[in-house]
């Protein structure tokens, strides 16, 4: 019955088909797509509760992907083409997180990358890490250590290249673009997690640590110095990816907190994208007038750095405990310093949004979807997070 886990993967394909048809551009078509996404999410929940052989880990990550998909579908934006690509990619992402074979998940991720890249420029930047990842799969048969190292490094680089390109391609449709970046991150993280859990001896932890610090440093300094919104969003996504990679070093006990941080990353990135829609530079944030929009922006920006009491904060305790347990105390301190810098970068954006004495001209508010997600995330992550923590823990344990 493991095939049941793939169930939710087919529905996004149906949604992508609706989006590509004539009905896709209409309001009715968008509602249909949203309904299909919600149905897929409900199916994932049903599978979780019915225990139809689908492993909880796959379902948790699948639910993260479908949650992002549903949010993008109900967000008020008009980039139908990107939304269709996101649905195709999400389908592949669900395949990648649901399969227990690296030989399936790695190609699914690469195919996702090929699909969502619109540009043919800088193709070599995408191809080289893709080839490295595929070569890693081939080498793994002979040498676990080198093969897994190549897979981990190749996939991380693919995520970075694709996210950067997708986010930078336009300042509109940011939620969909961020959705692409996040769903790809979920798929890549699932591979990393499986490698770390299944091959504890051969897992390339040194490489993962280096990648984590590279991503966290680039993200933190990038967020601190960014002047354009797309650069800022790329930097924040990169820092969150670095945090997730770092959590991998925590071993079995870090699994639950890692999944929580991953889910919190999705919330934070999607809320940021929704609040910063159609703004070009950081200075333009001062023009935002809508209070709900600025509140959503503050929530997204501050949960990006796990600032207390925002989403992601409570997972910091068990996560740091697991890292200290595994002997990564110094790495943890460096990560804390980098998260501090990320907090300063995030506060730049929040301070711009809330500084007084400005004439604010941009009236447009944030959609109901973003408000709903902000409220739901505050409830699930900060106010009453017990259930979510238990789910994440169960999901993390089921990987073993």
């Amino acid at each position: 019955m493991r095939i049941a886990a793939f169930g939710p993967a087919f529905l996004p394909l149906l949604a992508a088909w609706v989006l590509s048809s004539r009905a896709g551009a209409s309001r009715r078509g968008r509602w249909m797509v949203a309904a299909i996404d919600v149905l897929a999410l409900l199916l994932a929940a049903l599978l979780w509760n019915a225990w139809l052989g689908a492993d909880l880990f796959s379902l948790f990550l699948g639910a993260c992907v479908l949650g992002a998909l549903t949010f993008a579908a109900v967000s008020p934006e008009q980039d139908i083409e990107s939304l269709g690509l996101l649905h195709l990619g999400a389908s592949l992402s669900i395949v990648a997180v649901s399969t227990r074979e690296l030989s399936w998940s790695v190609p699914a991720i690469l195919l996702f990358g090929i699909l969502v890249r619109k540009t043919r420029e800088r193709l070599v930047l995408f191809l080289v890490p893709s080839v490295v990842a595929v070569a890693g799969l081939a080498v793994a048969a002979a040498s676990d250590e080198i093969g897994l190292l190549l897979v981990a490094a190749g996939l991380s680089a693919v995520w970075l290249v694709v996210s950067r390109e997708v986010l930078r391609s336009s300042t509109s449709g940011l939620v969909t673009r961020m959705g692409v970046s996040f769903t790809l991150l979920v798929a890549v993280s699932s591979v990393h997690l499986r490698i770390a859990a299944w091959f504890p001896e051969a897992a390339p932890l040194g490489t993962i640590e280096a990648l984590a610090f590279g991503a966290l440093s680039l993200g933190a300094f990038g967020a601190l110095g960014a002047m354009r919104i797309t650069t800022f969003l790329t930097a924040v996504a990169l820092a969150r990816a670095g945090l997730v990679l770092l959590a991998l070093l925590g071993g079995v006990h870090a699994g639950g907190p890692l999944l929580l941080e991953l889910a919190a990353s999705g919330v934070s990135l999607l809320l940021l994208a929704a609040a910063l829609e159609r703004t070009d530079t950081i200075d333009e944030i001062s023009n935002l007038r809508s209070v709900p929009r600025r509140l959503v922006l503050a929530l997204g920006a501050l949960s990006a750095c796990s600032f207390p009491p925002f989403p992601g904060f409570v997972a910091a305790f068990p996560l740091s405990s697991a890292l200290v347990d595994q002997g990564y105390s110094f790495s943890l301190l460096v990560a804390v310093a980098l998260l501090f810098l990320l907090a300063l970068g995030s506060m730049r954006v929040v301070a711009r949004a809330w500084e007084s004495g400005r004439t604010r001209k941009v009236e447009s508010t944030v959609g109901l979807a973003a408000l709903g997600l902000a409220i739901a995330a505050s409830l699930a992550f900060s106010i009453a997070p017990a259930r979510l923590v238990e789910i994440a823990r169960a999901a993390a344990l089921s990987i073993l």
């Binding site: 600032f307 925002f310 409570v314 305790f317 740091s320 347990d325 300063l344 809330w354 923590v389």
Partner: protein, 435 residues
């Protein structure tokens, strides 16, 4: 009198201002009077609850609310007040009400009104939280609210940078203690009371103490981490200044008192921190600027000196100093910082100075027996800063002078209840004495 266990007095007290903030957000800009009425009503209700709590406080039957927040991670929604806490919540409730009535309805916009009430909730949460994660959640919330109250981009940035550095160190401190609790007891917990029973190597204990001291050095702040204070106090209007100087000035030292000191039996780094504190006092006396900044730094140094005193009386004086410092600074906050026409002396400035004197006397008296040179240095700084204070403050307007009445009343009340400042657990000083 003990509160019926079915009535969650602490939660009601903490969340009443937040409810007020939510409701105050609804009236539009043209209905400022209604908003003011609503906000003052909720702040007054909160003050009534806090007064009831403080006046009916009995040692041994203090209210506590313990709910499992995230059982798997050992984090609880744990609120508790001891004698010191009961005075603190009363002070915070009074401070927020004063902040709201200190200016007219037209001067206080919707955003500022909501932020003041949210700051009250987070300060009340800080004073009552007994779980490390919950404490940090309120700490972060309060820091964010005060940052937003500042309103000016550059000031927000500077204040947030320094304070977040302190908050980050506080998170590291609690995370380490959480880990040690997990390792030593076999189950995770961030309950602050457990931290004091952790067994650590002497060198780790010293490092932890220094980490805690670094939190207070950033948050209080102590010399030389002070560059945000002047710009922040200048940027704020009276209500914001009241909350920053009278409320937030307690946050760092509260972390020190609640979390760090009870678990720091070995304080090898204490002399270094004490020198820093004495230098802060000297800086306050010698600084030439007419600003609250050096004064805040200096008197926070005095509080830290008191808290590090080996005798329980000194610790009590330090705790009383925390509160009376906040009181005195709230009195000062009624004046505009960096005022160009600041000339004195005046009767009202004399009151502000008088508020500093009792805790200063007790702290320096306790310190004299252990570190006379440091006491002389700190005393010199104290005298110079008092002199500067009296010399520079102008007389207050009659309306502002009226606001002094509740402050002085509260000051007298706090002087008449010295037993509430004694550390109830007395673990840290006792351990030092035994050793």
């Amino acid at each position: 009198m003990s509160w019926p266990s079915a009535f969650p007095i602490l939660s009601v007290l903490v969340w009443t201002p937040a409810a007020g903030a939510l409701l105050s957000a609804f009236p539009g800009e043209d209905r400022a009077a209604l908003r003011r009425m609503l906000s003052i009503g909720f702040a007054a209700l909160s003050l009534a609850l806090a007064s009831a709590l403080a006046l009916t406080f009995e040692p041994g039957s203090s209210p506590r609310e313990l709910r499992r927040w995230i059982p798997t991670l050992g984090l609880s929604y744990d609120l508790f007040v001891d004698g010191f806490g009961s005075i603190l919540v009363l002070w915070v409730a009074l401070l927020a009400l004063l902040a709201l009535v200190s200016v007219g309805s037209r001067e206080l916009g919707r955003q500022a009104t909501c932020l003041i009430l949210l700051a009250e909730t987070s300060l009340l949460g800080l004073a009552t939280a007994s779980d490390g994660a919950l404490f940090l959640a309120f700490y972060g919330a309060c820091l964010l609210v005060l940052t937003l109250l500042l309103g000016r981009f550059e000031e927000m940035k500077t204040f947030f940078s320094f304070q977040t550095a302190g908050a980050t160190l506080a998170v590291v401190y609690v995370a380490i203690s959480y880990h040690l609790t997990w390792v030593q007891t076999g189950f995770p917990s961030a309950e602050i009371a457990r931290f004091s029973s952790l067994v650590t190597f002497p060198d780790s204990q010293s490092r932890m103490f220094l980490l805690g001291a670094a939190v207070v050095a950033f948050a209080a702040p102590l010399f030389p981490l002070t560059s945000w204070v002047s710009s922040a106090t200048s940027a704020l209007t009276t209500p914001g200044r009241l909350l920053l100087l009278g409320g937030w000035s307690l946050a760092g030292t509260l972390f020190f008192v609640r979390v760090v000191l009870p678990s720091a039996a070995l304080r090898e780094g204490a002399p270094f921190v004490m020198v820093l504190a004495a230098l802060s006092l000297l800086y306050a006396g010698l600084a030439s600027r007419r600003s609250w900044a050096p004064l805040l730094v200096g008197f926070q140094g005095l509080v830290v000196l008191g808290l590090l005193s080996p005798a329980a009386e000194g610790v009590a004086a330090g705790r009383a100093g925390m509160l009376q410092l906040a009181l005195a600074f709230s009195t000062l906050a009624l004046w505009k910082a960096d005022s160009e026409d600041a000339r004195g002396p005046a009767f009202t400035s004399g009151i502000a100075v008088a508020m500093f004197l009792p805790p200063s006397w007790f702290v320096l008296r306790e310190l004299w027996s252990t570190a006379p040179a440091l006491t002389a240095l700190a005393g010199l700084g104290l005298v110079l800063s008092m002199f500067r204070l009296v010399r520079t403050l102008p007389p207050l307007s009659p309306r502002r002078s009226l606001l002094l009445v509740p402050l002085v009343g509260f000051w007298i009340f706090s002087l008449t209840a010295p037993s509430r400042f004694m550390p109830a657990d007395s673990k840290a000083p006792a351990t030092v004495e035994e050793e």
